[in-house]
Subunit: 667 residues, 2 copies
Amino acid sequence: MTTHEVPPVSDLPSLDPDVDVAALRTLLDGRHREVRDLVRSNLAEHAGILEDAEVLDRAAYRERVRDVVVTMAGTGQTGMGFPAAYGGGGDLGASIAAFETLAYGDLSVLVKVGVQFGLFGGAILQLGTKHHHDAYLADLVAGRTMGCFAMTESGHGSNVQALGTVASYDVEAQEFVITTPDDASRKDYIGNAAAHAELAVVFAQLEVGGERHGVHAFVVPVRDGDRVLDGVRVEDDGPKMGLNGVDNGRLWFDGVRVPRTALLNQFAEVTPEGRYLSPIDNPNRRFFTMLGTLVQGRVCVGGAGINAAKVALTIAVRYADRRRQFEASATGEEQVLLDYGMHQRRLLPLLARTYALHAAQEVVAGQLHDVFSGPGPVEDGADEHARRMLESRAAGTKALGTWHATRTIQECREACGGAGYLSENRFAALKADTDVFTTFEGDNHVLLQLVAKGLLTDYAGAFEDMDQLGMARFVAGVAVDTVVERTSGHKLVQSVRDLLPGGDSWDQEAGLLDPNYQLAMLRFREEHMIAGVARRLKRGIDQGDDPGVVFSRVQDHVIAAARAHTERLVLEAFVAQVRAVTDDDLKATLGLLCDLHALSTIEADRAWFMEHGRLSSARSKAISREVGALCRRVRPLAVDLVDAFGVPDEVLRSPDLLGWTDAGPVR
Amino acid sequence: MTTHEVPPVSDLPSLDPDVDVAALRTLLDGRHREVRDLVRSNLAEHAGILEDAEVLDRAAYRERVRDVVVTMAGTGQTGMGFPAAYGGGGDLGASIAAFETLAYGDLSVLVKVGVQFGLFGGAILQLGTKHHHDAYLADLVAGRTMGCFAMTESGHGSNVQALGTVASYDVEAQEFVITTPDDASRKDYIGNAAAHAELAVVFAQLEVGGERHGVHAFVVPVRDGDRVLDGVRVEDDGPKMGLNGVDNGRLWFDGVRVPRTALLNQFAEVTPEGRYLSPIDNPNRRFFTMLGTLVQGRVCVGGAGINAAKVALTIAVRYADRRRQFEASATGEEQVLLDYGMHQRRLLPLLARTYALHAAQEVVAGQLHDVFSGPGPVEDGADEHARRMLESRAAGTKALGTWHATRTIQECREACGGAGYLSENRFAALKADTDVFTTFEGDNHVLLQLVAKGLLTDYAGAFEDMDQLGMARFVAGVAVDTVVERTSGHKLVQSVRDLLPGGDSWDQEAGLLDPNYQLAMLRFREEHMIAGVARRLKRGIDQGDDPGVVFSRVQDHVIAAARAHTERLVLEAFVAQVRAVTDDDLKATLGLLCDLHALSTIEADRAWFMEHGRLSSARSKAISREVGALCRRVRPLAVDLVDAFGVPDEVLRSPDLLGWTDAGPVR
């Protein structure tokens, strides 16, 4: 590769903007500002629970969390997503915004809200019909009836299609009989199951007249008050790394009988005489359509991860702006941590990425609102396409958002030194509570495989409903030829040219701070990776290898392609947000963050770009220098940028880190 | 760069070795096998504390930990490093081995042992003289007297030279008066301070006749039984992220008087009439010599981090070898996790790196033993050189070992899915307890700066005793010219040629599995980075920039150079270990792991190697393929490789993950 002229590091301090914190916060809060402020004030009011979490024993903490959840339900905050007829707010978007904001506070409260209103309530709403809505929604929205979502089994985590619990239809009694055949099929990690749930939505293999119809959901009473009902066995999951205010447990069913109407029958029905009916013929498609209605949970968890990262950054950045350590100049005064280059490098790209993910989250939450608030029956093709796109985006954003939370909280903890280790400084609970976000609502790696599957089927121009084995087999099918043909040789080059506005070597000449350049880089990577996955899958199959072995070998490439795809969506969302801003200072502020995010994303994978001829070594080094320069430009804005997140002072705690006085933390 | 022929991915299944687990464990245990087995059986006996940690309240857990520590002290396990005359084992190497192995169990026990015998006992032993040894050692070795190590202050963490506590000499009374002048100078995070310590080794600014002589250590009684002594104020640090069995606290001293002999006077003395005497004239050098005797703590924490990672890997690898998830071949059976390429990629390079760090830890522990068991007074130049080398190696190994622990435990937790989140499966405590390892005994970034300082001074051929400002100023001094001269232009090329056995382009032709190639790559990176740091420092100073600003800009480069240096030491240690093995199977086994470690280390920084002309893009991709191939070859050995760590079954717990039966975990 020829070494092209490398643009100099940008150094335009005169352009550095003033941050209007209130205006920026309004922008970030978006159209659901009102509900976000409601949650903020609820969080401030119940901030004491953060301290209670450290001193109460597990049983008492669980009761405290339940009380807070029910109290919050009374303010309308948690029911935003349900129809007004049942006491809800009728605004799904507001429901997501409320949930995300709740992540500023105690995360057991957040997760219990997610279990009760998102998973349990969401299943009744989305998988049930009017009969179920009338029976349950009003009580569950008010928090009068607590429920759980009994999907995961000990032996079957991410592979929901392989669940072992059985619901067989007894045509005589017109009842379903729910049975746990073995310990691998016990329901496990089920929130609300150990103590509070009176009802469970149980996912089980439906069996009618000896024939299996796949996984369906049933409403099963499990408790009357505190008494566990006959035929149900409950075991506490015991102490957990975090979220100990949520009562996770295990459930076994020993021939528990429920009426025929207990089947949540939005997508399938069993008639009294034992006929199975569904508007969706293909069992795989039916299964994924059912699961798809639960996409809301993934959108919520992704947003919660991003907002938990905001709490950590707020504390770490404000601390780094106050704390002095080591003399570093001749004045004899110790230097503020955030004036150290290394400290800037540790925190500021994470801050920029938080803004980027926030923008991406706004897009996916908006799409969720539109798709689920729209009319259109589910069989409608256009609607189904939109749903699939949404599911893919939600899966990718959830994976990136929750990994970001884990990484950011860890880095912020370390950046606060030993003090970060004390519980009163928030990181202990933040770390422990968010750790499982990467696993629940779908393991991140499994979710990214889902994204990749969508990308490959998109390429092939057909919708396929595949489990993982299906994906491996898929490579043997006709579809892959389309993928390979579309992406190989000439076509790929053509496609890359399409991505680069100024021709084939434009990417080596464009300014590093040109968003078109940044986007073209991420688009090229995505296209190239997807094509590569398709070719590798095909080659393996053509060689006659076992599809399982082929898939296993390509798996890291599959995951990387899905990640690259989602990174591109995130950057596009952020660039679009910046472009839409009209205020000069705000635009400049977000533009700086967008550049820092884009270039540090490219920097993180610069090896790949060099390996694939899209970066010279000189340009690669220039990108690293530019990231450093951007960090220095963001540094004076850093405290304003975290203040704009609007995390209430009451939930920040951290008296020593933030230098609290009687009037609040030192600003 | 020309694209050279890229060697094919190795594929030599016929060479795959059988692992003799017992023989491998003997090799890993090394010369201190006996004490490691003593600790293993002590851990098994007290394994119940792992469960107690989840159910006892904080106060009770602390007492339980204290009891276990004192009981273990009775077996001789914790006193290995003290002279036999005081009831110790007289074998420092054995002491390190015992401590490391203790990391398989409850980590509050580990840290309390570290506080009592390593920090408190080590300070009395290394900084005190016979008077102090006679007065305290026998009781502290037996656990009859508990003590604490009061160095860190709230306002002064890593920068010990800036401590605020004052010890001023009252010549009339022949006493030191210990005073905490302000809240920033309160002692903080001090283990054993909140409940158990009767004595404290207090680090304070020594003032004699109005003149300051820098930080010195004093033995100060703080409690009589449970009663806090007059003039001492104690505050509990409260709940922490982990290690809640250790009673960390804060201490204030209000004019507390101790006799003149309370000064630990190995390196400095105050005569009755108030004359200050020290065999080391330079105050900076005296300070660093004093601190240097505490290097043992860093060696111990590094080893503990590595061993904690072994526990996590043992659980995650065994689980991945049993757990089936998703059908991936036509057999209809779900595939074992560890047969997935992605899962191999997640766990096996971490396993290889654990072996590499183990080898490096053996080297640094051996050097510690030799340096501290040798004769030679501390002023001896040769001895001082060895100490400085040891300190640098200990600092680097501690940083890499503890970061490795954080990363490995996290990856293993995620690789065990939701089950990894339950406390009985060990990850909760492992994560929470080890998290502070990256901070204590020196923040990892600060430690790597220490390493870098040593590298630069080594280059300059002189020993400098520098604080951080000194380091920034250093670039303005004459020394840097030597560095730059030695490393710039012609000289650097020469030096690189020296590193590459077969001439300048040998690195582009050598086999990827040639250890000389792997080492040459890491050596080149190290040399190049150090030279680059020196040049950047000099350029900044030559431009007349403020040294603090210059340092801040170069800081990430400084840290990277120190990391590169330590990575090279780690690989050298592992290669040397492999070379020394005579048994064919063991040699082949370790050789595989060494290749996997070396290539995944190069792969992780392949961007840098491409940027600096040491990897073509084709060769870079070949390295990634080779890492994948090595993972597949290590996979069948993986369970044996973790079993060789010899983590006792009793401390693994994880009944569901490991499939325990009455006879123990399924193998």
